[in-house]
Symmetry: D2
Subunit: 136 residues, 4 copies
């Protein structure tokens, strides 16, 4: 299983009048973590899109255990347990230090410019494989 | 089961470079729908907060079936199937015309200013009850 | 001078930990007001884009006089004092009831898909003219 | 004149259907740069707020020269030319490499919890002075 960890500093804009981070912003952080994971396996999302591969979110969920606050330094760990023919699942931990603030899941499929579901590009599968083997 | 429906016009800001609505924005719309439901049962969220009752999101999930696009007129239907001692669950349909674009769930608990979970305020339970009976 | 007024209900997401609306969100509201103005002169922005005309923001400014708060019902008045060969200026008042919360300005130019500045489309100039005359 | 520079990686969420960054997001980045400047002069904004000092935006403006795009690595340079009795002005350059994408200004005043304008806290003035002298 491949994973990558990304640091996030909570922005003032991301808080709400409850004094904590507005929940929807966690999904933006998950996306930053996904983009970073793809960067780390040398398969940048920017280049995937330039090649006509898009990776929209099919579903997402998040459980909020402890609030994040302005200026907190968080780490977002994302792992991709498996990639089947078309679906990609990603699991996340949002942590402040050792403490888990939230856990989350997203599922994705590669689509072309017309939104039609297509198989993952070769480069993605090869890089996933290469980096998984490196981790063992 | 009590439900309320809210209209949303998709803002340009809510789109992303894929040309469709960025997924995290659906959770903002769900919140608008919840606030509207509370307004309709004459228990406005603004007043709940003024009385020291806050209603953070404990968990949320969304399945995206069809993309929403700039300037689309959407309806967000929210229903609250049941309220137990502390947890409130809400279910949502995001529609464009008759077509369901997304389904979603959120769970909440009332907390006080210190973030401690407390029982729902009387006014909330009474208004929920009153409006449910009116629907039969 | 043509103007249009749009109602905005402040979303919880738009607040920050200061308990008031985060300033950057006003610019999203200004955009909603511009889109509404174009709708009212029967020249919807969605259709302009479909015809290859885009209207990015070249500059923007806002003065905040009084804070907006969660659940406030605001009106955004936008007027277009004049349209020269390429530049379009828009002026705004953000009001809560009679009270002015903010004043703002944005400037725009029509660009094509490649981002090159082009003259406003005929339909835009004609509709602007038609609706201005109707106002006299 | 004191200045600080902050790196920003453009998030997918920050783009819009024009394929570029939505203009309002620049103001969020300016805030991140301000917070970083205060951190660097050892006067963290988080602590100012804990001491009852808030620093809302009174006005802001931005000129957009070149678009920022997804995954761009930007630098935000903020400088504070002077602090008078109550008003603080900040000037910004948003750059991609050497290229200036945008210039901006914001003005602020310290307010207390009730939103009343107050003089800047001593610690802020002292730290500003200390770090300016260090730069000469």
């Amino acid at each position: 299983m491949f994973s990558a960890t990304t640091s996030i500093k909570v922005r003032y804009q991301e808080t709400d009048k409850m004094g904590i981070v507005y929940h929807a912003n966690y999904f933006t952080w998950l996306e930053v973590a996904r983009v970073n994971l793809l960067e780390q396996i040398e398969c940048p999302y920017r280049k995937l899109e330039e090649s006509g591969y898009f990776l929209p979110v099919l579903s997402c969920s998040c459980e909020f255990k402890m609030p994040a606050r302005f200026d907190d330094l968080l780490s977002i760990e994302v792992s991709i347990p498996k990639v089947d023919q078309v679906r990609i699942q990603a699991n996340y931990f949002v942590r402040k230090g050792e403490e888990i603030l939230a856990t989350a899941k997203t599922t994705h499929a590669f689509v072309n410019e017309n939104g039609k579901v297509i198989r993952p590009p070769k480069v993605f599968k090869e890089q996933m494989k290469k980096f998984k083997n490196n981790m063992i």
